[in-house]
């Protein structure tokens, strides 16, 4: 076991963790805005990947334009979902379980809609980043990993800048903290929630298109990746944006290392074992403020 090999594994783990982090950020944004567990968010990832495939492979558009279009469609979808289903349930003062089941219903609907449109078999996505590894001080890294890390990091920084430095972002944070006070201060709560959903869904869709070249694009990809990202978000603290990033990256790295060092058999359980270990020590996640019993 050389140091180079270890660094290689960590870098590709960070890249995978980056996509987890992007999805987890969406879960946290949505939780902060509406206090609901939105399982349909996982399907935004899948829809993003399929839209990217359609724009890039079937329509022949450039990759980055396809990413942008998939992202735009994804956020439109998120806004529509909130406006139609969640808005109605909120007015009913529906319980958490009801929101959850409704989101599962949306998820089942989307998976089967995608199956009808794109078929039950997976699609290969061309490796747009180039398959030849770059050598750096003896460490061989796939260009794909670097691109994902670069895009992920810039999106996280952009989100951070938007939420902390712009007036609009401050409004979103105010609404996430206290809806009533925010509305007294003149923030349009409804519009703010819609914007939150748009941003969260856009991040999810980007994660989907970034994942596409690494995996087969299938209708159940949102389920497997999304549930792990959800676990990462909760491990980081479901109300904490830094927690989502740290949780996502940690899950990605440890998953990859356990694969390389121990066995790939139990790969899919790693995220959840981590989640349970974190919750045993900190019931509100690493950076979470809520959920504490006292």
């Amino acid at each position: 076991m050389t140091l180079e090999f270890l660094v290689q594994q960590v870098v590709s783990g960070l890249a995978m963790g980056c996509t987890y982090a992007l999805i987890a950020l969406g879960h946290v944004l949505i939780w902060n805005a509406m206090r609901i567990l939105n399982f349909a968010h996982n399907e935004v990832v899948m829809i993003g990947a399929f839209l990217g495939l359609t724009f890039h492979v079937l329509l022949g558009l450039p990759y980055w334009l396809s990413v942008f279009l998939a992202c735009a469609c994804g956020s439109l979808f998120g806004v529509a979902l909130r406006r139609s289903v969640y808005h109605y349930l909120r007015r009913l003062q529906a319980s958490g379980e009801n929101f959850l089941i409704a989101s599962i219903g949306v998820s089942v609907f989307l998976i089967n809609l995608a199956t009808i449109i794109w078929g039950a078999f997976g699609f290969g996505f061309p490796d747009v980043f180039g398959g030849k590894p770059i050598s750096l001080l003896g460490v061989r890294i796939l260009p794909r990993s670097l691109w994902i890390l670069g895009v992920g990091a810039s999106l996280v920084l952009l989100l951070h800048w938007f939420l902390s430095r712009t007036k609009l972002g401050t409004g979103l944070r105010a609404v996430a903290q206290d809806k009533e006070t925010a509305s007294i201060m003149g923030v349009d709560v409804d519009a703010a929630d819609a914007l939150t959903f748009a941003i969260a869904s856009a991040l999810g869709a980007v994660a989907g298109v970034l994942l596409a070249p690494a995996f087969l694009v299938t209708t159940d990809m949102g389920q497997s990746v999304g549930l792990k990202a959800f676990a990462a978000a909760v491990a980081g603290g479901l109300d904490s944006l830094p927690g989502a990033v740290v949780g996502g990256l940690t899950v990605g790295v440890i998953e990859n290392l356990s694969c390389a060092l121990v066995s790939s058999k139990y790969k899919d359980a790693v995220a959840f074992v981590l989640l349970l270990l974190v919750l045993l020590v900190k019931p509100s996640g690493l950076f979470g403020k809520e959920g504490r019993r006292r």
């Binding site: 958490g96 089942v108 019931p283």
Partner: protein, 324 residues
């Protein structure tokens, strides 16, 4: 009114396999009862105690695999392995219940989902014990029950499951009607207030978790010996979610809700089969619509309509939040 309804329901449940003799429909009946047993357990923890669980399929899996392996590998009798499997799943329920005491809302939901995924991954990959994704085959059926009373195999199983369902639901109803049940509901509505009133919330949640695991394990044992085959595919996250959907669509926190939910969501794909490829699309759509228009579940709906009529617009639906 409710008494007449209960009597009618009991009559239908008792005579169903004698009136509808078609094997496939009796098979559906068996599957409904097995789901209803599992869901009654989930209902105790989620409906009454208000602890959202997304890993119930894990308990069903533990029950199914324990009994399957004890009978096929160690040659235990079905009765003995049944009791041992219940003990094993209840023990797991306790193990899960202790740490979950500190978790609330989404944290508990994802922790239970995580537990479910871990169980599924271990079952799929621990080939030496579970035969991996090939599953366990040739699981023996309990004694020569069927020929004794002149019933077909499915019919006999239907009555076995009905008896088990009756036992489980009676036990749960006794818990709910006792002071423990009132404590559980108090914990659901606000565990801080419940604690201030001197209720031992820890014991309450632990009891709810272990009882729900027991019911889940029970359903699992029935499932494995009825199907004579188990594989990890039957215990996915989707299955946990399906159990929760049955509880919520039927009516969480009601005695008959889990059964009604199990009936509706088991029969629905069959009824929708004329839609062919669009079947599951509509299944998802109907779940969403049920949440939008029957928020309290099917069992609760007549009551809600009456309430709305008598109280008009002052009526505020009561919900169990996950976060607050």
């Amino acid at each position: 009114m409710t008494r007449v309804f209960s009597l009618l329901a009991t009559l239908v449940l008792l005579t169903f396999p004698l009136v509808v003799r078609h094997t496939y429909y009796v098979h559906l009946g068996v599957m409904i009862l097995i789901s209803a047993i599992a869901c009654s357990g989930l209902n105790l923890v989620t409906g009454y105690a208000g602890q959202l669980s997304l890993g119930h399929a894990a308990f069903v899996a533990l029950g199914a695999y324990s009994s399957a392996l004890l009978t096929t590998e160690l040659g235990w009798s079905v009765g003995l392995s049944f009791l041992a499997s219940l003990a094993i799943t209840t023990a797991f329920g306790l193990v899960i219940g202790v740490p979950s005491f500190r978790l609330r809302g989404p944290y508990l939901a994802l922790a239970t989902a995580g537990f479910g995924e871990i169980v599924r991954v271990v079952i799929t990959n621990w080939e030496g014990l579970t035969h991996g994704s090939r599953g366990v085959t040739d699981i023996p059926a309990p004694g020569p029950l069927a020929p004794l009373v002149g019933l077909a195999r499915e019919q006999a199983w239907y009555y076995v499951c009905l008896l088990c369902f009756a036992l489980v639901i009676t036990a749960i109803q006794r818990i709910i009607r006792s002071h423990v049940g009132r404590d559980l509901v108090a914990v659901r509505d606000s565990d801080r207030v419940a604690e201030a009133l001197g209720i031992n919330t820890f014991a309450c949640k632990l009891l709810a978790f272990s009882m729900s695991a027991l019911a889940g394990g029970w359903a699992g044992v029935l499932y494995s010996h009825y199907m004579e085959y188990v594989s990890p595919d039957a215990f996915t996250f989707g299955e946990s979610v399906a159990f929760l959907s049955m509880v919520v669509v039927g009516g969480k926190g009601t005695v008959w809700g889990p059964l009604v939910g199990a009936i509706v969501l088991t029969v629905l794909p069959d009824l929708l089969s004329f839609l062919q490829d669009f079947k599951m699309l509509f299944h998802g759509l109907l779940l969403v619509l049920a949440m939008m228009f029957l928020p309290g579940g099917i069992v609760d709906t007549p009551g809600q309509l009456l309430l709305r009529r008598s109280r008009r617009s002052t009526d505020e639906p009561v919900g169990v939040g996950t976060g607050d």
